[in-house]
């Protein structure tokens, strides 16, 4: 076997060979299947984000408990009602530098303040990146620290039309203080990241026989005393070819999705891009490349123009209109309904994947959380963030609408960490976590 004797140091920017190769083992020995183990034990978390606050009318149910209303926005989830939990009363209580959109975004999953910096929004004091790790990465690190739950990537960060800018409005995922992680919003690039290595392997395997022929054909040019060198060279090529062929049976549990070709990464293609990304996301989880994923639609202050919904104004612009302006409210409801449709598609796709060896679906072993950086658009409040959770629940009682009072996001993240099997004591700012995980 080829031994993984030298793991290449990843040299950032070195000759712009941006793709790091994780060493020799990857050509033949790398297991594309995740770690073996009881599939029922797998716990997955997906956090889906859409921006600019939520409409009050048409989203929030009026009745607490199992008989909650699924109004216009939540309608797409109707078939998943039993697996859905809507929570009211979760508030982003992080204060400090930065405007509400910035803190709404960069403090949402980190529960931590922003560093002072040079990014200014409105008249608030300028700020930089968040001071702490985000909950998805925290749980990822926990899962990766255990061989039984370790996967190739741990997390994958998907985006749809995020924009090329890098600032606190565009980043919600942090590997640590000052370490924002950019979501990948180009499905082809994400495909490359997830499966590029397989393509490389395929390409390599396809030419190894030719390399052997080529070496044979050059032997005639070489002094007889030098044949030894070429022979031993060829022996190594033979061996690699054999190793690769032998490991050929170890492929993915589920084939990589066939992506439609030539979908440009533009706003008008958002529906196609969203579907491609969700298909990739589900596929990644099905192949156990990762247990955690985030899916970020646009960014805080995102200006998606959803022509396909007959909405020609930018989303953020609309979100500033007063509640009395019915036309805008109606458009905002359509926009958020579309987002909920994406959530429903994601959950339904998860539901279609059987968890091997069980009679459960992958959705039963996944918690999907849909949230937003603001509670309400025109007031820019960080209180009462929309929180929709779908999935098996991991101990949360699903199939209802519940209200809590003025609970910090950090306490919800703590509760989710516990549900995921990571019994940490506190997350984010300690003072916002004093009452422990929220009971829903």
């Amino acid at each position: 076997m080829i031994k993984s004797t030298h793991r290449r140091e990843f040299i950032r920017g070195a000759g712009a060979f941006a793709l790091a190769f994780p060493g020799l083992s990857s050509w033949s020995g790398l297991s594309w299947l995740g770690p073996a183990g009881d599939p029922a034990q797998k716990k997955r978390l997906i956090i889906m984000f859409s921006p600019n606050g939520m409409v009050r009318e048409g989203f929030w149910p009026k009745t607490e408990g199992p008989d909650f209303e699924m109004d216009q926005v939540l309608k797409p989830l109707e078939s998943l009602r039993e697996k859905t939990l809507v929570v009211h009363g979760i508030c982003n209580k992080v204060r400090g530098d930065g405007d509400n959109h910035m803190r709404g975004m960069s403090c949402l999953l980190t529960g931590n303040e922003l560093f002072p910096g040079n990014i200014q929004g409105g008249s608030d004091s300028p700020a930089g990146w968040a001071k702490g790790i985000s909950i998805d990465q925290e749980i990822r690190n926990y899962l990766q620290s255990n061989p039984a739950s370790r996967t190739r990537f741990g997390t994958l960060e998907f985006g749809v039309q995020v924009s090329n800018q890098a600032d606190p409005w565009t980043r919600m995922v942090y590997a640590g203080p000052n370490q924002p992680i950019a979501p990948i919003d180009d499905p082809y690039r994400m495909f490359e990241k997830m499966f590029g290595k397989v393509k490389d392997r395929e390409n390599l395997l396809s030419i190894l026989d030719l390399v052997q022929q080529d070496i044979e054909s050059t032997k005639s040019v070489v002094d007889a005393r030098d044949l030894k060198l070429l022979d031993s060279h060829k022996k190594f090529v033979d061996k690699m070819s054999l190793d690769l062929k032998n490991s050929g049976s170890r492929t993915y549990a589920v084939d990589p999705p066939e992506l439609p070709r030539n979908v440009a990464n533009t706003g008008d293609n958002m529906p196609d891009l969203a579907k491609m990304q969700i298909d990739l996301l589900v596929n990644g989880l099905a192949n156990d490349l990762n247990r955690i994923a985030t899916l970020q639609f646009t960014k805080s202050v995102g200006q998606a123009k959803m022509h396909w919904l007959d909405v020609n104004e930018g989303h953020h612009e609309l979100s500033h209109d007063p509640d009395e302006k019915q036309e805008s409210q109606d458009k905002l409801r359509r926009i958020n309904t579309w987002y909920c449709e994406q959530l429903a598609y994601l959950c339904n796709q998860l539901g279609k994947v059987e968890e091997p060896g069980t009679n459960q679906s992958m959705l039963d072993n996944t918690l999907v959380v849909w949230t937003n950086e603001l509670g309400h658009g025109n007031s820019h409040t960080l209180n009462n963030l929309p929180m929709v959770m779908v999935g098996g629940g991991f101990g949360f009682e699903m199939g209802r609408f519940t209200k809590v009072k003025d609970v910090s996001t950090t306490r919800l993240w703590l509760a989710i960490a516990h549900a995921m099997g990571h019994p940490m004591e506190s997350f984010g700012l300690a003072e916002l976590c004093q009452d422990g995980p929220v009971k829903l």
Binding site: I2, T5, H6, R8, E9, I11, R12, G13, A14, G15, A16, F17, A18, L19, F21, G23, L24, W27, L114, F115, P116, G117, N118, I119, Q120, P126, A127, G128, W129, K131, A166, D167, P168, P177, N178, K199, D200, N203, L204, S206, I207, L210, V211, D214, I215, T218, V221, V222, D223, R225, D226, L229, L230, S232, H233, F236, V237, K239, M240
Partner: protein, 789 residues
């Protein structure tokens, strides 16, 4: 096994631990050296010698002098003359009863041994030196890939002017109306504030702003600088780049599309920002730095680097240019080290790790190319001719990698069949490239059958650049204009001046002069408080400037390396070494010829060849004997620790060495080592000149015995330098080492008289190093392209 001696001084117990075999003074102590030898004529004597040898010597030394594990493991090879060898046998053999093998008997044994395996000539015969098939070395692979891909890009001539171009704005972004200045900055070293930045925020006169009432207020507008140009990289390796700034900025190196450091979002008051990047020496790389200040912090920035093994320093003006070179494809795959058991790196062996690394590098390169394929192929993805263009690019790529025009059959094998497959264009490209880069036709430069002219071009580029021929060399080859020695010479003269050639020669000198010793040196901070990494880096620069000066200006006279009476010195060095100096940066300074002599006493070398506190005549002596005089010394017994000062504080370094090596077993080698080392005792552990040690005048006189037994009286470094400069063995050894380093083959593989001829031409050229490089290249080129008959 061990011999214990009663110490003659004080109460210290002196334990001299020696390997058992070391106690036996055998002639194998002095091993192979050079090519001068006497041809033993008397066949009869050899016959007699053979009989005596088999009867009396072979049981310990092996039937062909190969040694014997139980008695004497080291093979009988060396550089003593026949006469000296006879003398040694007479005096020391057999081990248990010296004096039994004397006179004619000793002489005939000596002749037999000398002729059959002891001498260098005999060893060569045994080994049948020939030009062996070699693969590209790691360095050659990296250089070749970079130039192969570079050949599809426009090259940019590195301008003579140094410094980087900066455009300053009283605005956060490039705003022509707010332009404050367009200038060349020597360095980006603005820790106290960037030029033109006014912290009060008021600018009252901006030439390009026509509206006199419209003052630019930095509080509102911000401030920015766009620096663009390139960096010249002195040596290959991993560079640590540091930007010190609290402001927002973006730094690009090589890849102008993806920042190496992205700090546009200022967050927290982090000042130092670091990234590493692997760069190839002798090349220049694009550099772009955008700094902006917003809302209104002071604009400060410094751009620093740490060269491989060097200290953190501001990137000097000498490394900055205002032209942006095209992106270079730098293979960053880690390779196993090349075989350097012969003293130079060569590609005579392959291993599984090497094959894996080559594969990984091929995939890495294929991906790099496919990411940029439209641009490299001179087309656009949407363009109608995109696929034919890409296909043409692939043909060209393979042809250039192999250094020949492809036949139709090869065209199909390497390109056509991949484009026939139902694959995306990028995958087709990748398959073509991986196959080409894994092909022996690329990996073994001698494997492909090329036209004679193409073969010459390939060899010339490989020899001088470790790379592939460039466009102009190929053009000459294809037009048949490399047919006369004059034409070849003319082209080689051009090639030798190329930065890649200069970088290669510099790396040869660092290898020859064992620079790694000094680079890694640490010294006693109590004795030498100012001696730090920055000084070591200055010393290295000083040596490089000196070498550049000798080699690339004037007559390129080899002897100047030893005889020069000047040094390159900067302020820090001048202070430390007490040298008169005025001005800034490095200056050439004349020194008292009695205190310095070229590389021989260069403080960089003297520092490396010394201990933590003390000088080391042994290290220096071994260095001069091996690297300059070409003598081969037996490995020292590994468990002998040098005596330290504590052994007897009244002794000088020389006295301690003399005491510790006085045994006859030691003196076989140390009679060569010590006299050479003692000549350099005027230089302390950090290479400072001194005349006294322990309040005693330092004795730098000695008698050196040459391999043919004659004695040379030497007094101090200057006399040693003169001795070395005019010494034919030193010249010959230099030629041989340079040859091996460049050809990556033994010079003896190129014909028996080759070294002699090269030496003759070296003398005729006035010892020109540049001409020698050209002559050496011609030898290998002519050899490879000679008709088989």
């Amino acid at each position: 096994m061990r011999c214990f001696q009663q110490p003659p001084f004080g109460e210290h117990v002196f334990l001299l631990v020696q390997a058992g075999k070391f106690g036996c003074p055998v002639f194998a102590c002095l091993v192979i050296a050079l090519q001068f030898f006497l041809v033993a004529e008397a066949a009869q004597a050899v016959d007699e010698g053979q009989q005596i040898y088999s009867l009396k010597c072979a049981s310990c030394h092996g039937s062909a002098g190969e040694g014997n594990e139980d008695h004497f493991a080291d093979p009988l090879r060396g550089d003593l003359s026949l006469a000296e060898l006879g003398k040694l046998i007479t005096e020391t053999m057999p081990e248990n009863d010296p004096g039994k093998c004397v006179a004619e008997e000793a002489q005939s044994v000596a002749e037999y041994v000398f002729e059959n395996f002891y001498s260098a000539a005999a060893q060569r015969r045994l080994k049948e030196a020939r030009v062996e098939l070699s693969r590209l070395t790691v360095r050659q692979y990296r250089e070749s890939v970079a130039d192969l891909i570079g050949s599809f890009k426009d090259s940019v001539r590195v301008p003579d002017a140094r410094g980087i171009h900066g455009v300053y704005f009283a605005a956060r972004h490039w705003t022509d109306k707010k332009r404050l200045s367009d200038q060349t900055d020597e360095t980006i070293d603005f820790g106290e504030g960037v030029p033109h930045f006014d912290p009060t925020g008021e600018y009252r006169s901006i030439e390009k702003d026509n509206d006199p009432n419209k003052d630019v207020n930095l509080m509102n507008q911000g401030f920015s600088v766009y620096w663009a140009g390139g960096i010249i990289v002195p040596e290959t390796g991993l560079y640590e780049i540091t930007v010190e700034s609290k402001n927002g900025f973006d730094l690009y190196i090589n890849d102008m599309d993806h920042p190496l450091i992205d700090r546009k979002v200022r967050s927290d008051d982090v000042v130092e920002h670091q990234a590493s990047i692997y760069l190839l020496g002798g090349r220049s790389f694009g550099l772009k730095l955008y700094l902006f200040s917003y809302p209104q912090p002071p604009a400060r920035i410094r751009l620093l680097w740490r060269k491989p093994g060097g200290p953190l320093e501001v990137i000097p003006a000498t490394a900055l240019i205002s032209e942006t070179p095209p992106e270079v494809a730098v293979v960053s795959t880690t390779f196993p080290a090349d075989d350097s058991s012969s003293g130079y790196q060569r590609g005579v062996s392959v291993s599984e790790q090497w094959d894996a690394a080559i594969t990984e590098a091929a995939v890495e390169t294929a991906n790099w190319v496919s990411d940029r394929i439209w641009k490299l192929a001179g087309t656009k993805e949407a363009s109608d001719d995109a696929v034919p263009r890409v296909r043409e690019f692939c043909s060209q790529f393979v042809a250039r990698a192999f250094g020949k025009q492809l036949t139709d059959e090869e065209q199909y094998f390497f390109i056509g069949q991949h484009f026939d497959q139902e694959l995306s264009v990028k995958d087709q490209v990748k398959r073509v490239l991986i196959l080409a880069l894994k092909s022996p036709r690329f990996l073994y430069p001698a494997v492909e059958r090329r036209s004679k002219d193409r073969q010459m071009a390939r060899r010339m580029a490989l020899h001088l650049w470790d790379s592939l021929p460039d466009h102009s060399l190929l053009k000459l080859a294809d037009k048949g204009e490399l047919s006369t020695p004059e034409a070849i010479n003319h082209e080689l003269e051009r090639m030798v001046e190329d930065p890649r050639s200069k970088e290669k020669l510099q790396s040869f000198f660092h290898a020859w002069l064992k620079s790694e010793h000094a680079t890694e040196a640490t010294k006693d901070q109590r004795l030498f408080p100012e001696f730090d990494q920055r000084l070591v880096s200055d010393l290295k620069t000083s040596l490089e400037l000196f070498l550049d000066d000798v080699i690339w200006t004037g007559n390129s006279d080899f002897r100047e390396l030893f005889l020069a009476d000047y040094l390159y010195v900067n302020d820090r060095m001048a202070k430390f070494y007490g040298i008169q100096y005025g001005g800034t940066g490095f200056q050439q300074v004349k020194v008292d010829p009695d205190t310095r002599a070229g590389i021989l006493t260069h403080p960089f070398l003297m520092t490396g060849l010394a201990y933590y506190k003390d000088s080391s005549p042994i290290h220096r002596g071994v260095f001069v004997a091996k690297q300059f005089l070409g003598r081969r010394l037996r490995q020292p017994p590994s468990n002998v620790k040098p005596l330290t000062e504590e052994f007897n504080p009244t002794l000088t370094t020389r006295e301690r060495v003399e005491y510790q090596t006085k045994e006859s077993g030691c003196m076989n080698c140390h009679s060569v080592i010590n006299p050479l080392g003692f000549c350099l005792e005027h230089y302390d552990a950090v290479g400072r000149f001194r005349t006294e040690e322990k309040a005693k005048l330092i004795d730098v006189s000695s008698i050196y015995e040459t391999p043919d037994g004659s004695q040379v009286e030497l007094h101090g470094a200057r006399e040693l330098a003169s001795f070395l400069a005019d010494n034919e063995l030193v010249q010959r050894n230099f030629i041989q080492q340079l040859f091996n380093y460049y050809a990556k083959q033994s010079v003896h593989a190129y014909g028996t008289g080759q070294l002699d001829q090269l030496q003759q031409r070296f003398v005729q050229s006035g010892f020109s190093i540049r001409q020698l490089l050209i002559d050496i290249t011609r030898v290998t080129v002519e050899f490879e392209t000679a008709d088989p008959e």
